[in-house]
Symmetry: C2
Amino acid sequence: MAKNALRNFYSVIPAGGIGSRLWPLSRADAPKFLHDLTGSGSTLLRATWDRLAPLSGADRIMVVTGRAHRAAVEGQLPEITDHNVVLESEPRDSSAAIGLAAAILHQREPDVIMGSFAADHVIGDQRGFRRAVTEAVAAAEAGYIATIGITPTEPAIGFGYIRCDGALDIPGAPNAVLAESFVEKPDLEQARAYLDDGNYLWNAGMFIARASVLLDQLGRSRPELLASITELAEAWDTDRRGAAVDAIWPGLEKIAIDYTVAEPAAAAGRLAVIPGDFDWDDIGDFGAIAKLHSGGRKSDLAILGENARVLADTSSGVVISQTGRLISLIGVTDIVVVDTPDALLVTTSQNAQRVKAVVDALKLSGRTDVL
Amino acid sequence: MAKNALRNFYSVIPAGGIGSRLWPLSRADAPKFLHDLTGSGSTLLRATWDRLAPLSGADRIMVVTGRAHRAAVEGQLPEITDHNVVLESEPRDSSAAIGLAAAILHQREPDVIMGSFAADHVIGDQRGFRRAVTEAVAAAEAGYIATIGITPTEPAIGFGYIRCDGALDIPGAPNAVLAESFVEKPDLEQARAYLDDGNYLWNAGMFIARASVLLDQLGRSRPELLASITELAEAWDTDRRGAAVDAIWPGLEKIAIDYTVAEPAAAAGRLAVIPGDFDWDDIGDFGAIAKLHSGGRKSDLAILGENARVLADTSSGVVISQTGRLISLIGVTDIVVVDTPDALLVTTSQNAQRVKAVVDALKLSGRTDVL
């Protein structure tokens, strides 16, 4: 165990989603987590790994990803061992992905506390993050399923929220509160009300729990899914793994863990929330990238891309260049330009959420060559 | 002489300007006149030729162009003979280009009436154009330098204007009026006043005159320039042409024919204007292309490019695609996107005039690879 690592703690990184709202940057073969969207020089996946390594130890980080991304993931994480790579033969959503990781870890270490963290989020304040995870692990030790809820800084409409209830009294987790319920992405009016109310935190999709507790909760809402992943996990570290994956994985129900674990746990009073006062973003669209790079100011044009050549009188928005072509912007404010070898996107920060509609339209029309 | 061709008439097409406001479509090696901006399938140069052939005969159209464009011009005009190609070793502006054409034609045919028409303008109504040129040739026969002034349909700020005076009494030119003066591109308030006034026509840069009259007018304002081009013209159809070009051409004054011929002729009461009631555009910027394709409506997105793949919820503006890449536009109205292999422009119709500033900035910074 690495120095200062949390006892019994194991990190899990589900690296699955493509990030359709970041098309044409994010693609089936180049999903969001494989991009450096912060200009730090690290991909989001690598940055997530580096953030978790001090908490669990670098040898205790499991990545769940698609077979197609194996090489790219191992390229980003050269220190990862096969032991810590769980490959999906096809996407079955987060209940299956995180549930299987939990079941494998539980099989190996019955007392393990796992923390699941998306591969494609951005956190600036590493100390704040570590402090919150440490409290979350304490809550997990106390038997809760814990999540970290981010203190809102604005009435965001792109995130889901967690409505919090009274304080919990958990040793080592002085800030823990009980989750009352999860609420979907609100409209602006609702979001403002949530901000004023003060009891709503952003749902950052982080889940920390004993693997056994998480599996128990999953089994209450989806007993068949639990039975299947338990069977798969039992075969995992044996020579029956391949056959079990082929037989079981494609039949698993596709459903987000929010519905099978988080919401039922909240309803049952078993979900603890650690408020996180650190900066966090899921970079859900290009507007978020623009904001990230301008540091909240409205006056900076964010430019991403190693060989970007941009000539602009435009002082806001974001340009992502993958081609090295000269990009010239005249009189267009708050613009989003994503320049890739086979597809070009032009939109604005305000319309950035609508990028997914383009991806849907391309799918419908069969133009999948650029997806 | 072709059937129905005008007597003694010779067309001249100066094919020189790059069209900097249409960068990155127009380049030093692919100037505006070599592009199909109307979606007709013809380049502007070819369309100009086809418009003039019935007036002068196809064997009586002279093209003045840069050496670098010879192959492209001959590719567009396979029927042109060397006799009708005047190659500039370097650009010396329109007084030299049109003056040399006049001097060569005058050397060959002392009575020739020449008409000079830009290679990169668009005219839809061919009958209206022919009617106006026929009157202009009649005015030229009567000793005037004639121009065709376009009846304004809106308070355009992208064109120069001709202020007209009283009617002239010229046989065969019943609509001819005297030009009082030329006025530079106005601001919107001035342009509105011109439109209300009714005596202002758009300057379409068409000049029709006996070559001898045009040369005489040039000699009054620029005697040295006239002497030089006369010397060059005398050598033109001899084996001394090459040496004369090398010796004389680079030293010619660079000045637009507006200043050396048109304005002095107007001031001297020698400039006749034939009002042209046909549609005309010099397609000075991408806004003009958008307008041309929408037929004046604000609701159409113009798409140009053989292999254009555009997915847009945008209903106004223009997309020019040279790459075959998928271009996706979301929530951007009145947008201009020009997608070329090495340079991308994103602007709006309203800002289209400012494209030239980008070209100037690129020149200043030495990034001439994309010019």
